[in-house]
Symmetry: C2
Subunit: 331 residues, 2 copies
DNA sequence: CTGAAAGCGCTTACAG
DNA sequence: CTGAAAGCGCTTACAG
């Protein structure tokens, strides 16, 4: 690979001048400039980003650690981050923690070693606060994505409480008073927010939480199938509506309803967070809270750039609105 | 940030020794070693990957350019690549061309500037051969993913011909002789392979391609809805089965069938490549060719590492098998 | 068993 | 308007 020295030699100038021509960072005589550019072409010179980064202590790259690259919502966030980063001329280093705090730690350290200009992290379910402390120690710009913390950091997520409230209002409006929340792993902040939001929404509707009408702690479709199954098979505990807090929970719960031969929405209404694509084409058509996942990613980059450019500005927490697609499953 | 010089000073040794201790690259007296390690801890030293890469001309990173980060199949491939890379201690630089050859070009150049050790590319639909030439000029290891080329490069994709053949055999076995192939953009190699495979399969069944029974060129759900709609509304051209070659094509075609009030599979059978998740939970339950997208990504990394370690070995083309999930839509 | 020193390919004050 | 030179933080032959 040709270096700046080769170009300088061929053009008969110093490496300073070559550098300044390439980066347009100071005025150069048109003639000299032309010779340099010609030399660049002729030797096929390409600036080495590594050397440049080392010298400038800035890499023009950002790191993204997601907790579950297999989940469509996270895939969309990755897409949004990539898009926004590309627009700004930033490269994206992607890592997946697979919900494993140890892997998350390694991913963050690697990204730190590579001197990314900033970090966006959607934390693993069991991730402790020490990770954030570690990043702060390095005073590396950081934005939390989707899975927020009760800390003084920049973060962007969904307004889960508002979405739950709207959904509960919709269901109670249809006369439902016994709603089963399939809540999932409450260590995941977004799931906890939905859980808390659900309780608050019921309370404000004067309903209170019927005992046994929460289903929490399960994370797999199989486990959800089982626990939801046992709740709905028992007429004592059977709800008139089910609200699932993620796609995988919805899959398990939906299967349980089908296994119990309960028609939707005839015997039981059904709604879900995230959920299935192209729902309009299939039966049952399921009412779905659609997260603005792509925009979440874009916003994370925006917050990160703010932090990089203004290290001492006040941190902000952004809550984006989800949209609810109302369909026949809750009619 | 502490550097190797700080560590050396504190431990009272040379930077050579520090480097060798950290990298375990030559024997060091246990006592010295311990002092170095203690110094590393005490100053919170972390090796700068940038400087290391510059010196070694090796970055332990790979670049991945996908053509459509929004498509679930590509998201899974990204996931597979990430997983395999992480296992090998490689960082992943991700870029999306969004099916735009110009963006693809920029993405590749950026990755080349960053001196990734190798490149995995799922090319944009209109991508020309000059991009591959360019990468070869730099003699940078390259693997083509999913969208293959008729060139002497390492590549991994799906055995599309085999999948189509199996599906066609399944349909003809059910008595279908008029099958509509919703083929999509034939500039996309994988779609072209399905198209060619379809013709070959019909021929080997002694059927030949009925005129007007191909629907090609459309890439959006809306355009597909329209063209499939006009084909199935006309009893002269109406097929008894539809085979869609991608998720978005399937969405458009399915809508057209529903708009025409043709029951599936009563009036018309339906099958698709890729397609919808959790299909078993919804009606119509659609027969689906499931690509091993994650494995495709993993295999791409494997081929790339082979190439990096053995630059002069023979190139290989790997074809992974898809699995067909047979469901009621083709009963 | 260890160290002095060159060099990877850039950028950027400093000087003229 | 341009150049000589230091330095970013490492690795690695070379020498002892």
């Amino acid at each position: 690979m040709a270096t700046i020295v080769d170009v300088a030699a061929l053009a008969g100038v110093s490496t300073s001048t070559v550098s300044h021509v390439i980066n347009e960072t100071r005025h150069v005589e048109p003639g000299t400039r032309a010779r340099v550019l010609a030399a660049v072409q002729s030797v096929g010179y390409r600036r080495d980003a590594l050397a440049r980064s080392l010298r400038r202590s800035r890499t023009d790259s950002i790191g993204l650690v997601v907790s579950d690259a297999g989940e469509p919502a996270f895939a969309d966030m990755v897409h949004g981050v990539e898009e926004a980063a590309a627009q700004l001329g930033l490269s994206l280093l992607l890592a997946n923690s697979a919900e494993d705090p140890a892997r998350e730690r390694i991913a963050v350290e690697t990204l730190l070693d590579r001197r990314v200009d900033g970090l966006i992290v959607a934390r693993a379910a069991g991730s402790g606060p020490d990770l954030l402390t570690r990043i702060r120690e390095e005073s590396k710009p950081l934005v939390l994505l989707d899975r927020l913390a009760d800390l003084d950091v920049d973060q962007v997520g969904v307004d889960n409480a508002a979405a739950v409230a709207e959904l509960v209002a919709h269901l109670t409006g249809k006369g439902h008073e016994r709603i089963l929340l399939v809540a999932g792993d409450l260590r995941v902040p977004s799931l906890r927010e939905r859980f808390e939001g659900f309780r608050a929404a019921l309370k404000s509707q004067g309903l209170g939480t019927p005992p046994g009408i929460m289903c929490e702690g399960t994370s797999t479709a199989a486990a959800t199938l089982e626990s939801v199954g046992s709740i709905i098979r028992n007429p004592e505990t059977r709800p008139t509506a089910i609200l699932a807090c993620s796609t995988v929970l919805a899959a398990g719960a939906l299967k349980a309803v089908q296994d119990a031969n309960l028609p939707i929405p005839g015997a039981i209404a059904f709604a879900t967070f995230d959920g299935f694509t192209y729902s309009d084409l299939f039966e049952p058509q399921i009412t779905t809270v659609r997260q603005p996942a792509f925009e979440l990613g874009e916003t994370a980059v925006e917050l990160l750039m703010n932090r990089i450019n203004e290290p001492n500005s006040r941190t902000q927490t952004r809550r984006l609105n989800s949209t609810i697609e109302f369909r026949r499953s809750t009619d």
